[in-house]
């Protein structure tokens, strides 16, 4: 159920970088301290704005990785080769630097513990970030909602939050499934190949459970997963999608 509420007028605020965590060679999590932060819902994002000395500005959106109940603000950013903002955030920004941001933004792709489950979270690449916020909130809030996370990566080295996801998999009611699309390593216990309807038939909750699905990542993956779920009988209204475009955010 959509939460109807008038929004506060969002202003730009300054946050300070507290810590940087290298998740993978291309992906970094940035822990921020924002005195004016009002909290968020799992799945929402922030807009980040960079300003050069000559006044030039560049602005991009990044999903919030932390859970609302974590009471901290963490962004996870993937460096895009031809990006303008992501290389700065991943390679240049360091603890003590300030970062201008506004948020939280987005009322559609958001989950609250009182919504319940069962939940299916499907993501590719940096599409995992808002899903991680939802998973972290499910755990931190003490919700009993059953959650299955299906994540698609190119190689096992690309898995973001790998260690934490292993810990999450041990939590009662949480299942984590990884699939690799460009690698088939020896001893790999997960799945191989792009997410398709056959894989969804195995992993997704049966349509009659009427659970919610959140699908996030590159547009092609989101389109294929949403179509696959509908093909399995899931109501389109129970499937929330967020397309990151060609680069996956």
């Amino acid at each position: 159920m959509a939460r109807a509420a008038l929004q506060r007028r969002l202003s730009w605020q300054l946050a300070e970088v507290v810590e940087s965590i290298d998740e993978t060679p291309r992906v970094r999590s940035i822990v921020l301290s924002a005195p004016d932060w009002q909290g968020h819902r799992a799945g929402q994002h922030v807009d980040v704005r960079l300003t050069a000395e000559d006044g030039y500005q560049a602005q991009r959106s990044y999903s919030i990785a932390s859970a609302p109940d974590d009471h901290k603000l963490v962004l996870t950013v993937e460096r895009l080769d031809d990006g303008e903002v992501s290389p700065y955030l991943v390679d240049e920004l360091r603890p003590g630097d300030k970062l201008e941001l506004r948020g939280p933004i987005g009322g559609y792709f958001a989950w609250d513990a009182d919504t319940g489950g069962p939940l299916l979270l499907v993501g590719g690449g940096s599409g995992i970030v808002p899903l991680m916020s939802i998973l972290r909130q499910r755990i931190a809030s003490g919700s009993a909602a059953a959650v299955r996370l299906l994540a698609s990566w190119r190689t096992s080295g690309d898995i973001i939050y790998a260690t934490e996801l292993e810990r999450c998999a041990a939590v009662d009611g949480v299942e984590i499934v990884h699939t690799l699309t460009r690698e088939s390593p020896a001893g790999w216990g997960g799945r191989i190949g792009r997410i398709d309807q056959a894989m969804l038939a195995d992993v997704a909750w049966p349509a009659q459970t009427r659970g919610l699905s959140f699908v996030c990542g590159p547009t092609g993956l989101v389109e294929a997963v949403a179509a696959g779920l509908v093909g399995l009988g899931h109501e389109p209204g129970q499937i929330k999608t967020e397309r990151f475009g060609p680069t996956g955010g």
Binding site: L14, G55, A58, D82, E92, D97, E100
Partner: protein, 201 residues
Amino acid sequence: MAFISRGFKRRTSEPGQEGRVPPGQHLTADFPVLSAGPTPHRQLADWSLSIRGEIDDPLDWTWDEFQALPRERITKDIHCVTTWSKLDTEWEGVSVDTLLDGVETTAEFVVAYCDGGYTTNLPLADVTGGKAWIAFGYGGEPLAPEHGGPARLLVPHLYFWKSAKWVRGLRLLQEDEPGFWEGYGYHNYGDPWLEQRYSGD
């Protein structure tokens, strides 16, 4: 005083290119793909190019007829309203002057119309006199669909939203008629050297 992000700089033009890069633009080595909608996939057998409107006898060319027209190779700088500029881009196309050769018209304006529904408007004077082409080749190759193939309008002296992708015809008009973006906030003319990006600039 606005906050300045430590160590952040705008993408800069290469030195020595000043004078070729309009205000507010930066050079790119890529050729970004930007669209207002899905890429149409028009088969050449179903393609035609037309001249309509203020013309005694409407003109049509099939792809083969169009390919038989005199063609030119041109090298031009192009400038996108999203701030990227690309120098010395190489095209192959038929000059709009060739298409309008012998055409008598009282029209002063033209609207280009395209597969997918996109339109853009220009003064007729801005697509004649060696200023515009229907381009079907880029970089020595056939123009790729995501860049407007089979053919796009090419009007390099204006912002590149005027170089309409997937062009199918030109309609000659006595009165100006805003096209897609011109009706939704972009400048009616779009001179990059005067930074005419938005309506009223």
